[in-house]
């Protein structure tokens, strides 16, 4: 996948935050357009061809949720990651209902933000739903709900299967603990304990033990990544 072509719109009124976002995104191969307020963001969003946009919740003149709603009304379906200092669930729900695709509460680690932008960018790139995911010698049959490694079947609990599927759908990219909790358990809070690590650890034992190479990697300070060696 050629990353150089991918264009992200960042709508953020705080200059320093905007610069940090742009910096993190550019380092990871995205091209970045900056909009400094809601109206500017709306204008750019309507004409530009972006894979993802990040939208600050609180913006002068036109707030982030209204920007997304207006864009959706005009048929612009660019995935939107809402960045907000308001973390309460009601607000999260309001943001997602307005057409936002993901929600991240400030302050956040830039790697967490990148992981989510990657996931959204990937979503806009792949429209077709696969029935078989292959990463290295791992095969996930989404239809029969069966996992094999080197042709040998591995037994997983339903939730473990969902977790592996989510990692596999985002193979090669970092997935944060909060993203796992959100997409696998449908829970919207940041885990304060290491329970997710331990849970992933068990899945890892089932998938990786006595294999020629590991697939599930822990990325320190961020989360996990499923990838096969080059």
């Amino acid at each position: 996948m050629a990353r150089s072509a991918r264009h992200v719109l960042v709508i953020e009124d705080d200059a320093e935050t905007a610069e940090q976002l742009a910096d993190a995104l550019q380092t990871n191969g995205y091209r970045v357009d900056l909009a400094v307020d809601g109206e500017d963001g709306l204008r750019r969003g309507l004409v530009g061809d972006y894979v993802v946009m990040t939208v600050d919740r609180m913006l002068p003149h036109l707030d982030g949720i209204k920007v997304i709603r207006r864009l959706r009304e005009k048929g612009i379906l660019t995935p939107a990651l809402i960045l907000s200092a308001l973390g309460e669930i009601d607000d999260r729900v309001r943001g997602l209902r307005a057409g936002g695709d993901d929600y991240l509460v400030k302050p956040f680690a830039s790697r967490e933000m990148l992981a989510r932008v990657d996931a959204l960018a990937r979503r806009s790139a792949t429209g077709i739903k696969e029935t078989m995911l292959r990463i290295g010698d791992l095969e996930i049959d989404l239809f029969a709900r069966v996992v094999r490694r080197q042709g040998r079947e591995i037994e997983l609990l339903p939730r473990e299967f969902q977790l592996l599927e989510y990692l596999a759908r985002n193979a090669g990219q970092v997935v944060s603990r909060a993203m796992l909790l959100q997409h696998v358990w449908d829970l919207h809070f940041d885990p304060t304990t290491n329970v997710i690590d331990v849970y992933v650890g068990r899945v890892r034992r089932k998938i990786d033990s006595s294999q020629s190479y590991p697939l599930i990697h822990t990325i320190r300070g961020v989360g996990f990544c499923l990838r096969a060696p080059e």
Binding site: G87, E88, I89, D90, V93, V105, P107, A109, L157, R159, W185, D186, L187, H188, F189, D190, P191, T192, T193, N194, V195, V198, Y199, G201, R202, G221
Partner: protein, 470 residues
């Protein structure tokens, strides 16, 4: 002081207003009783005179004058007709028969009904008797006078007036006394509350409204005010503790970070050392941010609109998911996590929050519950509502510490050095409070058993949307 307050009190004003209104009503009722009784007695008198007149006239028409005279004589001597006077005269008013000896001097003959005091007839020698009389002119020109003493009626009337006056007077005195004593009572109770309020304004939240142990509404009010003060004092106290703890728990790592950066600033380090230092600093800051978000989250939950976004949820389903999520953690700690929940148990709530709270309880049990035995997560129908409980076999929490552990940043001495923010149970408490659930801690002998007791589910009253697990 108290007396002057009593007279200014609104209760007394209202009491007097009532006295006036009720006095009016009482006088109305008594007046009616008086009027109707007197009229009734009066009518009976008139009626008896009319009847007796008819009897005499009838006798005259059947037995003639002789028969009438003999009847009059007979009546005059009859004890039963003691109160009656009879007089039969000829056309020129000369006495013919009867116990009255002469026509009353002042009386004209053209009146049919009149009242008079006879000069020569007294039933009671000490008092002159008033008579009510009728006068008939017989067909032969003779005059018949028939009268009855009305003295009893007058006495009766006087008696009624006197007793009514007594009743009214007594009532007024009683009402005034009751009014004053009621107002004095409420004024003194209000004064007690006022005094407590002034004391609190001047010296702080220590004061309490005195109770009299009568169990009346004033005691009820005093008790509620006292509970309110208790709660406010608790909140102020926990607020104070939070600021102390925020200062401690956030300042300590911040100082550490600052120290690290300062040392790095003053020293020459190589790239790897810088890298390691920055990594450590980020980890420290992440820890601070996490504490900060937890604190914020608790505050947000506490400030949240009750029941906004609540749905009907299956508590058993949530417990099952939590148990499944924590199974590896328990295993890693050498424990088993048992789930004792089978039936669907409905509660109204927020899934994220209940999941988070349950996770915190289970996490505490696994990490602080020792490794002596299983951790049990149970969901059951209680007497009142759903009960979710987490029990471990660890050291437990001493009874006197049980209230404290729900406070923010509070940590038992024993666990001060193990990882954790001291916010887990505060979050559980905030979530429980939002759901109207009670937290009970009990001895699991050995270990701790912590329960969330949910209120009775009232589905019909809420009209909550249901969220079925799929």
């Amino acid at each position: 002081m108290l007396l002057s307050k009593t007279f200014r009190s609104s209760t007394l004003k209202i009491a007097f207003l009532y006295v006036i209104v009720f006095s009016g009503a009482i006088f109305g009722v008594l007046g009616y009783v008086y009027w109707s009784t007197v009229t009734y007695v009066d009518e009976i008198l008139d009626h008896s005179i009319k009847t007796e007149t008819a009897v005499l006239l009838e006798t005259f028409s059947t037995a003639g004058r002789g028969g009438l005279i003999s009847l009059i004589d007979q009546r005059s001597n009859d004890k039963f007709f003691d109160d009656w006077v009879y007089l039969l005269t000829d056309a020129s008013l000369v006495y013919v028969a009867g116990n009255l000896k002469s026509w009353p001097a002042a009386q004209k003959t053209d009146q049919a009904r009149f009242e008079f005091i006879p000069a020569d007839w007294h039933r009671d020698p000490t008092a002159p008797s008033l008579l009510r009389a009728t006068h008939e002119v017989l067909p032969d020109g003779y005059h018949l006078l028939l009268g009855r003493r009305v003295h009893d009626l007058a006495r009766f009337r006087d008696k009624i007036i006197v007793s009514l006056a007594w009743v009214a007077g007594l009532f007024l005195i009683l009402a005034a006394a009751a009014g004053i004593s009621t107002s004095r009572r409420s004024v003194s109770r209000i004064e007690a509350i006022n005094a407590t309020s002034r004391k609190i304004i001047e010296t702080g939240l220590r004061g309490r409204v005195p109770m009299r142990g009568t169990g009346d509404e004033w005691d009820g009010l005093a008790q509620n005010l006292n509970s309110m003060l208790e709660r406010i004092e608790d909140l102020v106290e926990s607020n104070r503790q939070v600021s102390d703890n925020v200062a401690h728990d956030l300042r300590t790592p911040l100082t550490r970070v600052r120290g690290r950066l300062e040392r790095a600033y003053n020293r020459q380090l190589n790239v790897d050392q810088y890298h390691e230092l920055i990594g450590d600093v980020i980890a420290d800051l992440d820890e601070i941010l996490r504490t900060f978000s937890s604190l914020l989250r608790i505050t947000q939950i506490e400030a949240r609109d009750r029941k906004a976004g609540f749905r009907i949820l299956d508590l058993t389903g949530i417990a099952r998911e939590v148990a499944e999520l924590f199974d590896p953690s328990a295993e890693e700690n050498g424990l088993t996590l048992q789930l004792a929940a089978s039936d669907r148990v409905n509660v109204i709530g927020d899934r994220d929050l209940l999941f988070d709270a349950t996770s915190n309880l289970v996490d505490n049990a696994i990490n602080h519950g020792g490794c002596n035995g299983p951790v049990t997560l149970a969901v059951a129908h209680g007497d009142d509502g759903a009960i979710l409980s987490v029990a471990d076999r660890g050291p437990g929490i001493p009874v006197e510490e049980r209230k404290n552990v729900l406070r923010r940043f509070y940590r038992l001495e024993a666990s001060r050095n193990s990882p954790g923010s001291g916010l887990g149970l505060s979050l559980v408490a905030a979530v429980a409070n939002l759901h109207g659930a009670r937290i009970e801690m009990a001895d699991n002998s050995p270990g701790l058993r912590i329960e969330l007791q949910f209120p009775i589910l009232d589905v019909t009253a809420t009209g909550m949307p249901s969220q079925e697990p799929n």
